[in-house]
């Protein structure tokens, strides 16, 4: 009987709580369609690693498969970089290339990253953990994993749960912040959209230029920016359609499967169930709020200097958050809700893809500014 039921005696109430949390992530993924590609594997993985004497993780001399995967792809930051190739291949930078001034809102919407670094230090986290928590505000999973692993943060599991959960909650987080910072008159500003031709040469040179410029100023961002832009170059070169297709589909999906379930190895009850996790969840939410506020306020400041007929709708500043394409859809819907003839999708999409670039630069800045 001991051989059959002995393991049950090792069951800890904390493990059961983690089952509930894992189940909640699975529920959110399936029922609410919240980032299912990550939350479902993370939820299931959280259950896997919180079974007594789980064979999925290392027990004494027996190396668990999740730890093998973790060392193979997360601890050395490989998986997020490979995923970035797929993400880069998926992104159409066309709306941004038509109006490159929109990049500035991407920059402004990284305010939450750095503001939360400060808040986290005020709450007692060391600078490495504070930077890892702040990068939740990059609203970009691979960047968050890369930075938190670079700094060897103990809180990777909580950081990933926060990052992906809040990315999925952008439609709930952003609108109240935007409405608090703008007037109805500002929200109904119409922006004229003129489709401009972006040459193939520009589309091809863009990823190369971004990599070189970012790499010269922020050398530690080269891996992140470079892999993202490599994926984009595969898409835009026009002669590697099969590789682009593989990057967007096979590579991205394969890495996503491994990433989600492997990150869960950091969700063991002892590591996850502590007051720091709650603080990280709270700080992560603040990062998204400050990101949104930073972008909107930047747009309002720019409007001070714009003539009446060229004013920007400040809501597009909120799209500088890297949650693509969710944020641009949210702002487009908000604009239509205020004025049925106000179509902002293309401008919002331009800012949103700019935010993707800015978030990677922000992550690179953290790596550059804080010694390992």
């Amino acid at each position: 009987m001991q051989a059959i039921f002995g393991n049950l005696l090792l069951l800890d109430p904390k493990m059961v709580i983690m089952w509930v949390i894992g189940g909640l992530l699975i529920y959110l993924a399936i029922k609410k369609d919240m980032e299912p590609s990550l939350l479902l594997p993370m939820g299931f993985g959280a259950i896997l690693v919180n079974l007594p004497s789980s064979g999925a993780i290392t027990q004494g001399d027996e190396v668990g498969v999740l730890d093998v995967l973790y060392n193979a792809g997360i601890a050395n930051e490989l998986f997020p970089l490979l995923l970035f190739i797929g993400i880069g291949a998926m992104i159409d930078f066309g709306p941004l290339l038509q109006n490159p001034k929109l990049l500035i809102f991407g920059a402004a919407a990284q305010f939450g990253v750095f503001a939360v670094v400060v808040l986290a230090t005020l709450l007692g986290f060391d600078l490495h953990d504070a930077a890892s928590i702040g990068v939740i505000g990059a609203a970009d999973g691979p960047t968050a994993i890369f930075v938190s692993q670079w700094f060897n943060s103990r809180y990777t599991g909580a950081i990933m749960v926060a990052a992906y959960s809040y990315m999925a909650l952008v439609p709930i987080i952003q609108p109240p912040v935007i409405k608090a910072l703008t007037t109805k008159k500002e929200r109904t500003i119409r922006m004229r959209y003129q489709a401009a031709n972006v040459s193939r040469l520009t589309r091809i040179l863009f990823p190369i230029v971004v990599t070189v410029v970012a790499g010269l100023i922020v050398p530690r961002s080269v891996a992140l920016v470079g892999f993202l832009m490599f994926g984009n170059l595969l898409r835009e070169c026009g002669v590697l359609d099969s590789l682009s297709h593989v990057a967007q589909n096979v590579l991205a999906n394969l890495i996503t499967i491994f990433l989600g379930i492997t990150i869960a190895s950091q969700m063991q009850a002892d590591q996850f169930l502590n007051k720091e996790t709650l603080m990280i969840l709270g700080l992560g939410l603040l990062a998204f709020v400050f990101d949104t506020a930073g972008g909107v306020i930047c747009a309002k400041v720019v409007n001070i200097f714009m003539p009446e007929d060229k004013k920007l709708n400040p809501m597009i500043g909120a799209c500088g958050i890297s949650a693509f394409p969710m944020s641009s859809r949210v702002i487009s819907k908000m604009a239509l809700a205020e004025d049925k003839q106000n179509f902002l999708l293309m401008q919002a999409a331009g800012v949103n893809v700019g935010g993707q670039v800015a978030s990677v630069i922000a992550g690179g800045m953290l790596l550059n500014l804080i010694a390992r």
């Binding site: 500035i104 920059a107 031709n197 040459s199």
Partner: protein, 46 residues
């Protein structure tokens, strides 16, 4: 204020400045790419 918080404030200042500088440079580069890299516009001028 602890030295750690002051350090984080410095990171914030330099970090935001760095992001803005890079994005402004990229905006300039893209503007130049659009100006000199569009063969349709070149033909129209010719």
């Amino acid at each position: 204020m602890s030295s750690l918080v002051l350090q984080s404030l410095a990171v914030m200042g330099q970090g935001m400045l760095g992001v803005f500088v890079v994005m402004a440079l990229l905006a300039l580069c893209i503007t130049l790419l659009n100006r000199f890299g569009n063969p349709t516009k070149k033909n129209a001028k010719g």
